[in-house]
């Protein structure tokens, strides 16, 4: 290996740093484990009853799907505030399909939900990518518009569990090897998305675009197409989440999923996805989602009144981004100083 020209000294430093950075997800995971352990010590049922274990996995599954989609969009330096409304619309569509098309196969409902979500995502993406206007404004607009359409469509109707087939509702709680189906679906999506984002050209281009849009343009990356794809993926995942929401909760009114956008963005941010793109992983976002909802469930057990939950969530978000910032500052200072060393 005579061509190996990498200087050993900075490599060790940087390598250590790299590991430290990769620990960004690890630290969130540790926080999650800590919450679970402490809560379980306080009340063993939190983990060791079969319902407790199931809920630990089941509760965050739907948010994981949405957070993964949101993470992809945020990594490309956009944001999708319309996910709550998208989820509401697809969940309602799910119920309507069962009501209006008796005997419709469940798989068709799933595909319809995903496709509908993708179309809603496409609308966002097209407005952002072609009109070149900030995603924040566009998706704030579609947050209202989609919710309005939902209310117009649903009126004061509510879809009840009895309107949907039993075997569909069962999907919301079925377990395989004591792992809920919803969790399995969320995991499959997560693994697929994580693999794609890390190991394919397309995935890396999302990071590149989010990291430096001007450079992406200079490189000749297909920026417009990628932004579209990110929004469509986010919409489709949210659509899938909407179908699963219907299966899990059984009751859908026109307000289903409202406020979800902030949870999804919060999950991504807690999980280390930089709000201005370019870094973070869908894994982090998923762990962020689990942490968010697990804390929600753990607080009452730990004796914190559930009214304080949101405050804890807020503190968590701020803590996460401040920590992120401090780590980044430390890193850039180290990189700067390493330059002095290599100069002399």
């Amino acid at each position: 290996m005579s061509t190996l020209t990498v200087k050993p000294a900075p490599n060790v430093v940087l390598h250590g740093l790299g590991v430290f950075l990769r620990a960004r997800e690890t630290s969130i995971l540790l926080a999650l484990l800590l919450v679970i352990v402490v809560t379980t010590i306080k009340n063993p049922n939190f983990l060791f009853s079969s319902d407790g274990f199931r809920d630990l996995l089941l509760t965050p599954s739907i948010l994981i799907l949405v957070a993964v989609g949101q993470a992809i969009v945020i990594i490309t330096r956009s944001v999708d505030l319309s996910v709550g409304s998208t989820l509401g619309l697809t969940a309602y569509l799910t119920g309507r399909l069962f009501l209006d098309v008796p005997g419709i196969p469940i798989i068709v409902v799933f595909l319809a939900g995903i496709a509908f979500g993708a179309v809603l995502g496409l609308i966002n993406g097209a407005l952002v990518a072609f009109a070149k206007v900030p995603a924040l404004v566009i998706t704030l607009g579609t947050l209202y518009a989609y919710r309005g359409v939902n209310v117009l469509w649903a009126g004061s109707d509510r879809i009840n569990a009895s309107d949907m087939p039993k075997n569909f509702l069962a999907l919301g709680t079925t377990e395989y090897l004591s792992i809920p189906l919803l969790t399995i679906i969320a995991l499959i999506v997560l693994i697929a998305a994580g693999w794609y984002m890390r190991n394919t050209r397309g995935g890396r281009e999302f990071y590149a675009i989010g990291s430096e849009p001007a450079a992406a343009e200079l490189y000749g990356l297909k920026v417009t197409k990628r932004i579209l794809v990110a929004f469509i993926a986010c919409g489709a995942l949210t659509g899938l989440a909407g179908v699963l929401y219907a299966a899990r909760y059984g009751t859908i009114n026109s307000q289903a999923g409202s406020g979800l956008e902030l949870d999804a963005v919060a999950a991504a941010v807690i999980g280390g996805v930089a709000i201005f793109g370019g870094s973070g992983t869908v894994w982090g976002a998923a762990i962020g989602a689990v942490l968010l909802l697990t804390i929600n469930r753990a607080l009452p057990i730990l004796g914190v009144q559930d009214f304080w939950q949101r405050a804890v969530v807020g503190a968590l978000i701020i803590g996460a981004i401040v920590l992120d910032r401090l780590l980044a500052l430390r890193q850039s200072r180290k990189l700067l100083e390493s330059r002095d060393d290599s100069n002399d």
Partner: protein, 321 residues
């Protein structure tokens, strides 16, 4: 009964005939319970030839209701039939409406007495509390821990019932302890998740009482597929259509409710009586309420619908609402 032209409701567009435009303003739209009650109101208004309308916010907050009350005042409707999200907060707006000649009937959830003309009480609070305590006591063998899954923390009627249930339990069921009260905000998902949390937090829980139709249905759905099915009793106030499956499969043994359609029906007739000046809301005024017969206004302008009804496996098939 007095003459029919003496009512204060000479609105701008009413001419000399009485303005029988009656608008229902439930706590929120998209709520099966209010859908049923307001249909009852629509039926009554159809019978006496008034104009029915229903408006309401999508979320059950008092500030959202105020905007609707204001709009109805501007429109100059004959009467507003409202279920209050807060006993005081919407009071000012209601009084402005009344100053403009609009009659105000509260139903399901009351405001303070000075803000409305009459309140249609679905069942008196003591009766509602008692039927639920009796049901849960019977189902858990009159001993053990129970929890309450309520609607929003500010819901007037729920809070009143919970207080009465607690004192009833303290007085008459010494072996039952209420370990916690949680709030599902009349939101299906929240109620569902809160049920899950309750069961984990309190491993010895024997029963859950949910005095709200959204809550009991969500809790039943959770129980149905959980390990606690059949072990933790669930009762409270629910509608037969939402609860039918759970009663049939044994998740829930029995629950109670008045007939919400009758509640809306009675409220509409009370509104008509107010508009036409048959009653003013004073004690012992009487009015006709169509199929339901004659009702008398009680103290503080309260009209009592009747006793709550108990639903179980044997009778649930007879109802459709």
């Amino acid at each position: 009964a007095t003459g029919c032209s003496s009512g204060g409701g000479d609105s701008t567009d009413g001419g000399d005939s009485d303005n029988l435009a009656i608008t229902f303003l439930p706590k929120n739209l998209g709520n099966a319970y209010f859908d049923t009650s307001d249909k009852g109101g629509e039926k009554a208004i159809g019978e006496f030839g008034g104009t029915y309308a229903e408006v309401g916010p999508s979320e059950a907050t008092p500030d959202a209701q105020v905007s609707y009350i204001n709009t109805l005042t501007q429109q100059g409707v004959g009467a507003i039939v409202v279920s209050a999200n807060d006993p005081k907060a919407i009071g000012g707006a209601l009084n402005e409406a009344r100053d403009a000649g609009v009659k105000v009937v509260t139903y399901d959830s009351d405001t303070d007495t000075e803000y409305r003309d009459v309140f249609i009480n679905q069942a008196d609070s003591a009766g509602i509390a008692k039927v639920q305590v009796d049901l849960i006591a019977e189902q858990i063998g009159d001993a053990g821990e129970i929890a309450i899954l309520s609607a929003s923390a500010n819901a007037t009627n729920q809070n009143a019932w919970i207080e009465l249930m607690k004192s009833d339990i303290a007085d008459n069921h010494p072996n039952i302890t209420v370990v916690e009260t949680v709030y599902g905000d009349d939101d299906d998902q929240t109620s569902f998740d809160k049920t899950a949390a309750l069961l984990q937090t309190h491993p010895n829980l024997k029963g859950i009482v949910s005095p709200t139709t959204v809550g009991i249905a969500a809790a039943a759905r959770y129980l149905q597929t959980s390990e606690y099915k059949g072990k933790v009793a669930l009762t409270g106030l629910g509608t037969p259509n939402q609860m039918r499956d759970y009663v049939t499969d044994g998740t829930v043994t029995a629950f109670a409710l008045w007939n919400p359609a009758d509640l809306g029906y009675l409220a509409a007739y009370a509104a008509k009586a107010l508009i036409e000046g048959d009653i003013t809301g004073a004690e012992s005024d009487t009015f006709e309420a169509g199929d339901l017969g004659t009702y008398t206004v009680g103290a503080d302008g309260v009209v009592l619908l009747g006793d709550p009804y108990e639903f179980n496996k044997d009778n649930i098939a007879d109802f459709d609402f």
